[in-house]
Amino acid sequence: MRISLGFMLVLLAAVLFIPAPATAASPQEAIEAYVQEVLQVFQKYSDADLESEEQRKAFRQDLSSVAQDVFAYRIMVRMSLGRHWGDFTQKQQEQMVQLFVRVIEANYFGKLLEYMDQVESVSRDMIQITDEIVFSSRKAEVRSIIHYQDKKIPVNYRMLSRQEQGWQVYDIHVEDVSLVRNYRSQFQDLLNRKSPEEVVATMQRKVEEGEAPDVLDSE
């Protein structure tokens, strides 16, 4: 009897203290939460003077931390490098991930700032989540449409379910063009001619210049 009391307590403890499995949010919920957070950042800066470099920097930083939770950047880079991933040393891999994040952020957030300059106010109905397609228990796609100046731009998020982070984005299709597939073809091309070290340097240059380096001239 006493032993069973002990076991009951053990059971109770087990039930109470075993950590809940990683967030059970659906892919669509994950994107909805992301959109909501991005809009919150927009709202926070809606009255700010985005002409000032300081404010622009703070805006980018806020967006960056929102995006870090949702985008599986490391996986994006791994997919973009394909079979060449293994040719990079661990240090180079880390460098590539960091540089990739900077290229994406510099351009993506730049576009968002441009967008903000052109619309009077940003509201929830500019982004419409239209569909969720579940390929398997770990792979899904969330479809959305961005309304911009009378245009409808389809933006689809390819997602994977991860042990700790829950559903994360591993690819974005803008107007049906996959970002990862596009980078994959670029890296493939570069790595046919260059060593991993040179590719890291090319990325570095790209980040520093803030725009496309003139690789055309370097051939």
Binding site: R2, F17, I18, L216
Partner: protein, 271 residues
């Protein structure tokens, strides 16, 4: 794992000793609780890392296969294509983008959109014929209905009310997509001066589209050319915007534009 094992044996020892003391069961419970609270998260984490990592590796190799299974495009003309790409890049950067920026500054966006709508509306015969050639008569009918509604209720196509009715907006089809549905292969990649990326099949398609353009058949031939020119100028901002985006995001612009074009065309055919 080692620490867990030692905790388990500790637990067994306590369990054995509980027979001696009447209160010991309660204490055993408390001790077990404490032990479990300490042990369970550690154990769960260790298991997660083990199975989680391998399951993720499996998923990643599945994704790799997804990407690897999509073929690109043959590019035997690469040296020529790169030279033309470089020429176009200069032309876009120093001529067409400034022209496009000037046009954007002078002509407000609603007017540009309206003009785009008018040309899209007028060019419905090309889309209609291609739907028919692809064996989709229903879509042809939708094009006709869209044209009638936009012309009657959208001020001659200036507005696009049919666009808000999804049934009246079938996917856009051109002659290149018709050739694709007939089984013509995409052929090699070609970069045309001024026009930019294309394939052999899409280039043949452009010839077909040229003949399906109603503006070609205007009685006043010169007017047709002027209108085509105006339409091209009006399209410049969105085309140059897209090119600039590709360049901004791209590490290697030539491959970025090539792949972007191929993906875009493939999706247009699939729809």
């Amino acid at each position: 794992m080692c620490s867990i094992r030692s905790r388990q044996s500790h637990f067994q020892a306590k369990e054995a000793s509980s027979r001696a003391c009447p209160w010991s069961g309660f204490f055993v419970g408390i001790v077990c609780c404490v032990i479990l609270v300490l042990a369970v998260p550690v154990r769960a984490e260790q298991e997660d890392n083990g199975s989680g990592a391998s399951a993720e590796d499996e998923l990643l190799s599945e994704l790799q296969q997804d990407y690897a299974s999509q073929p690109g495009v043959a590019d035997p003309l690469e040296p020529y294509n790169r030279a033309v790409f470089r020429f176009n890049d200069g032309l876009y950067t120093y001529v067409l983008i400034p022209v496009s920026d000037g046009y954007k500054a002078v002509v407000p966006e609603p007017f540009r959109q309206g003009m785009d709508n008018v040309f899209y509306n007028v060019r419905f015969p090309g889309r209609m014929v291609n739907h028919l050639l692809q064996g989709r008569p229903l879509r042809s009918g939708q094009e006709i209905a869209g044209f009638v509604i936009n012309t009657l209720f959208g001020f001659g196509g200036l507005l696009d009310p049919a666009d808000s009715i999804s049934w009246l907006s079938p996917p856009e089809k051109d002659t290149g997509t018709t050739l694709a549905t007939w089984g013509v292969g995409q052929g090699v990649y070609i970069v045309w001066p001024v026009l930019g990326p294309s394939t052999l099949r899409s280039s043949a398609g452009m010839v077909g589209d040229y003949f399906l353009d109603p503006l070609l058949y205007l009685e006043d031939e010169q007017l047709g050319w002027w209108l085509t020119g105006a339409d091209n100028l009006n399209n410049l901002p969105s085309m140059m915007g897209r090119y600039q985006d590709m360049k901004d995001f791209g590490i290697e612009p030539y491959s970025s534009v090539k792949d972007g074009y191929i993906q875009y065309r493939r999706n247009k055919i699939r729809k």
